[in-house]
Subunit: 237 residues, 2 copies
């Protein structure tokens, strides 16, 4: 199993700096997925899995969006303006792609290709968190399991994860919630999982459930067996 955390970081290193955001905005869900990296690390330990994660904030370049997507370097995210993303020139955008997007994806590609060359066929799981309230509306779902929709069968592992979550936890778990591949959230899976036919799922955990390291450990204790059962179910199918 190969874990990926695209929105792991709220670091704003030079040359970009804080993009004009105050400390509260830099800690908010617009800058990263709070809790996702701690949860991904806890899952990696429990599953003995490799973890690849982002080194900088998604607001510098969202690694799960194509470089021409409005969401790659957004001028506005939910209710926040991002001053440092206003008026970017094509050269500014290309420089961020070269500094952030290219090396991350080249590195992840090499991790995937090496495993495939070794005769392994990894399952790819991306780990995200979502905000409990979005544009003022509370979200009831606690665990979303999302799959790409490019090819028939892309939903197989996600459905196995969902079935295991329902069977083994009391989490409110839903398929393709709070959003789906139609919302452009499976870019990374389309680059790295779909072309190799890798089973995959994108996990979305409501971030109030993984707000501190203890909560992350508790969630990992629940989700690691869920992922293991889904893997066994997939192999048996």
């Amino acid at each position: 199993m190969l874990l990926v955390c695209e929105h792991a970081s709220n670091a704003f290193p030079p040359p970009w700096g804080d993009l004009g955001l105050d400390p509260a905005a830099r800690r908010a869900h617009i800058a990263w997925d709070p809790g996702a990296l701690d949860l991904a690390r806890a899952l990696a330990q429990r599953l003995d899995a490799c973890l690849v994660h982002a080194p900088v904030s998604r607001l510098i370049h969202d690694l799960n969006r194509a470089p021409d997507s409005a969401g790659a370097m957004p001028q506005r995210s939910e209710v926040y303006d991002i001053p440092g993303n206003r008026g970017l020139t094509p050269a500014d955008r290309a420089a961020r792609v070269a500094a952030v997007y290219d090396p991350f994806h080249a590195g992840l590609s090499a991790v995937v290709a090496r495993r495939i060359a070794l005769g392994l066929h990894p399952v790819m799981v991306t780990v995200h968190s979502f905000t409990p309230v979005w544009h003022g509306v509370p979200r009831e779902v606690e665990l979303g399991v999302i799959h790409d929709d490019t090819r028939p069968g892309d939903d197989r592992f996600a459905r196995a994860v969902l079935a295991a979550a329902w069977a083994m936890t009391d989490l409110r778990a839903e398929l393709n919630a709070p959003y789906s591949a139609a919302d452009e959230v499976t870019h990374l899976l389309r680059l790295h999982a779909v072309p190799y036919g890798l089973p995959h799922a994108m996990l979305e955990i409501r971030n109030d459930l993984i707000a501190d390291p203890e909560a992350c450990a508790h969630m990992a204790d629940r989700l690691a067996p869920v992922l293991t059962r889904a893997l066994v179910a997939l192999k048996g199918a």
Copy 2:
């Protein structure tokens, strides 16, 4: 327009060397696509297009096959045995992936991502050649235009190229001949064109028609206007 030539080279550099092949086998279509690089260069000049091409023989690592494909480092190709590809260990395969597959695809990804970041939306055309006689059977088709089959609309540019070839040349041109995406020949397009929604086509030219630089130049004189017309048709659609 972005041109790619995955089978451009019949170079067998160290540490792999000639894989036990005699000079005739190293010049044959199993080692590369004869004529494809000269044709791709001639097209790049006429279209002012960027060209990315392979530096080593496809028999070391076929850049248009996933690392776990039997065709990536084949032990046999058509009627030829490849002694140097027998008994490869998983570590041997992983080393070839790291040396050949990873840097080529990372480089091509960066070329694509930069163009997309700059607001361009390139058309990707891969340039190949095929042998006139395969397993003893002559092939009548002269120009094959192949497309991926992952998503609806993946055939749009290929169909436009084919229509232009029929209108502007007397080449025997066919869609998805002498093989198609079902034969695993669109791996590169699935990695680099499909995830970004780039229009694409794979050109297959019978190699007896591009056997020397003059023939390549003549073919490029015919195909450059075909590609241009297809591009115009696509933009008008």
